[in-house]
Symmetry: C2
Subunit: 395 residues, 2 copies
Amino acid sequence: MNILVLNAGSSSLKYQVIEMPSQHVKCVGLVERIGMEDAIFNHEINDEKHKEILPILNHEIGLQKIAKTLLDKKIGVLNSVDEIKAVGHRVVHGGSKFSKTVVVTQEVKDNIRDLFDLAPLHNPANLTGIEIAETIFTSAKQIAIFDTSFHQTMPKEAYQYAIPNKYLSTHKIRAYGFHGTSHKYVSEKAIEYLGEEKSKNIITIHLGNGCSMSAIKNGKSIENSLGFGPMNGLIMGTRSGDIDQSVIFFLMKKLNKSVEEVNNLLQKESGMQGLTGFSDLREISEKSAQGNQDCKNALNLAGYRIRKYIGSYAAILNGLDAIVFTAGIGENSAIMRQLACENLDFLGIDLDETKNEIRSKDIREIQKSISKVKILIIPTNEEIEIAKQSYQLIK
Amino acid sequence: MNILVLNAGSSSLKYQVIEMPSQHVKCVGLVERIGMEDAIFNHEINDEKHKEILPILNHEIGLQKIAKTLLDKKIGVLNSVDEIKAVGHRVVHGGSKFSKTVVVTQEVKDNIRDLFDLAPLHNPANLTGIEIAETIFTSAKQIAIFDTSFHQTMPKEAYQYAIPNKYLSTHKIRAYGFHGTSHKYVSEKAIEYLGEEKSKNIITIHLGNGCSMSAIKNGKSIENSLGFGPMNGLIMGTRSGDIDQSVIFFLMKKLNKSVEEVNNLLQKESGMQGLTGFSDLREISEKSAQGNQDCKNALNLAGYRIRKYIGSYAAILNGLDAIVFTAGIGENSAIMRQLACENLDFLGIDLDETKNEIRSKDIREIQKSISKVKILIIPTNEEIEIAKQSYQLIK
Ligand SMILES: Nc1ncnc2c1ncn2[C@@H]1O[C@H](COP(=O)(O)OP(=O)(O)O)[C@@H](O)[C@H]1O
Ligand SMILES: Nc1ncnc2c1ncn2[C@@H]1O[C@H](COP(=O)(O)OP(=O)(O)O)[C@@H](O)[C@H]1O
């Protein structure tokens, strides 16, 4: 069965056609700069890359271009759009309504729309993707997979903030957690790999452009370091992560910044970018190795923040079997993993520095033999997870 | 040697006369509602309480009233103001300038003034207290004891936020930590009690109207849960503690609240107050025992937050010898201590519930015999600490 996995952003469409249950990826692609005369269309099949610059003025034209390409005799993978049995849509915010993946109905769409205020940059684009896919892949089931749903198992102590109760009941202000598809994928891989008995208490550490950590108890998420929005917790490429709220009031009241300016500062000019002038961790690691003090300092700060969360989650789990690194930085940056594991032998965490340096695309263990806690690297794959969940729902 | 300990608030003056080095408290008192026609003056000597309602229109008149009372034949303790050899002033914010207690000079006063922006509610009143005391206790040394100075040993990873560097260098935006005098006092008591070898890694938990925790490594503070201002970290009587900054932006942008309203909400209407309608923990514990669900929930949230910090600090310390409870709630609330220690045996923390219920004013241990970590209750005494530090500086 062919499943089209679709991730619609505000000016982009990412897609893959995945055959299930084999998990064979038939093609992958990306439309960027939607709305422009010089939009970019990328399509890859059998390691062959196709690139086109062309006007793509809206998402509908973008998805039509994708559908046409999928039917192309040379670089396509389908004879008819009806061969797509399901379109699996990534939806960032599912609020408290969606604790699992669902088939899209009018009610589901209304609920996604009701959450626009909570995810103003993502949910509108995600809904647009669904609505257009319904008109093109008419015989396919449309499926919504939410970034938040894996975290709906969090207990109240983890999701409620200490503000008047009405903000929770009326305005739904609470921690939701994000990157759920990735945390679910890698935690399930870890449990499969270690066996259930040896994976009761896991911490998953997703370090990409966005970063978050989850505490996973018996396969269920009980904590995530991203809360109500996508900015607190760990230090990210351009986002500050945790910061004392007094700083926000100071910036507004004493330095006369507007709410927009402060929001922008904390989301786009902070994190590694604010500390070093660079947001890409490759560049920062290189510069640090060459002696750049700001870069060295920023790496220290980022590693320290992760260590604090490891401790905090180990306490809440009351035990620790394994920690799992994933995503761009987690899978590739030996230095960040090293800083994240430094001086934690009290918790049973002992990194093997040699194993940590070995590069590979496979699941691997990088702890010393004396380490009570397993330290794993597990490449994440949100698209496969979306295809899996879509398949399970309709098979 | 007589030391006058003075804590000047915006509309109050708290004082004690303490004889050093014996630490004998000769009298204690409090002027409240300064600025009013019906201000309240309280003075206590030999367990006898004196109360007067009278107009006290400013701090100068208030301190004159105190000085006059100290000289009173019946309820006084001095024959001449010159018998006060030092006035130890509590100053809330010492910024990055003061890593220890100092004798007040013009430069010190200028520095306290430079920090008005960082502690607008406290430093102006603290400076007023110093300036008036200089005119009344003319032959005494004026000493400034800062709430922040004990935390000046925090490493950069603990105090720097992940925002552009200029906010640290130019605007001094960083974590300072507070309640330093209390954390110093109880951690020193703990080290004295346990011996240095068995107190390398301590977590001190100050739970009063304001709440904060510190990680103490070999007697030095390396972390405090209050940062740039007095509102993040633990859940307090009316303050939210940690909250995702996205919530602030949501309240301002979607619910059209002003910066003042949000600041007020998070400082005065949140925390236990926001969750239950009550801010006094005695009332909340009673109501919870009677079945009030909001109160039960709030206690759970507060305990859970403390547990997360215990884990986080144990990780950063990479070890844990003891945790110390102090201040109004820490010393008196068995239920809060129990919730704070629940399900933490992975970290070696095992509370003895019977010992936990015993009331006493002494230092005591409340862990089970199997507990690797000592759990101590140590009554705090910021006035004695201020007297001690003042005495050490001038003896
Ligand atoms: N070899 C590498 N070493 C260090 N960092 C890397 C490496 N490869 C990728 N990264 C980092 O991964 C991040 C992107 O991660 P990714 O998971 O692709 O992000 P996204 O959150 O957008 O899915 C970038 O900050 C990049 O610097
Ligand atoms: N017996 C008690 N049980 C529970 N809480 C108590 C008890 N006694 C005092 N408290 C709490 O202690 C808090 C005040 O602590 P304190 O250390 O005096 O505050 P401050 O921060 O003003 O110095 C109040 O919330 C009060 O409810």
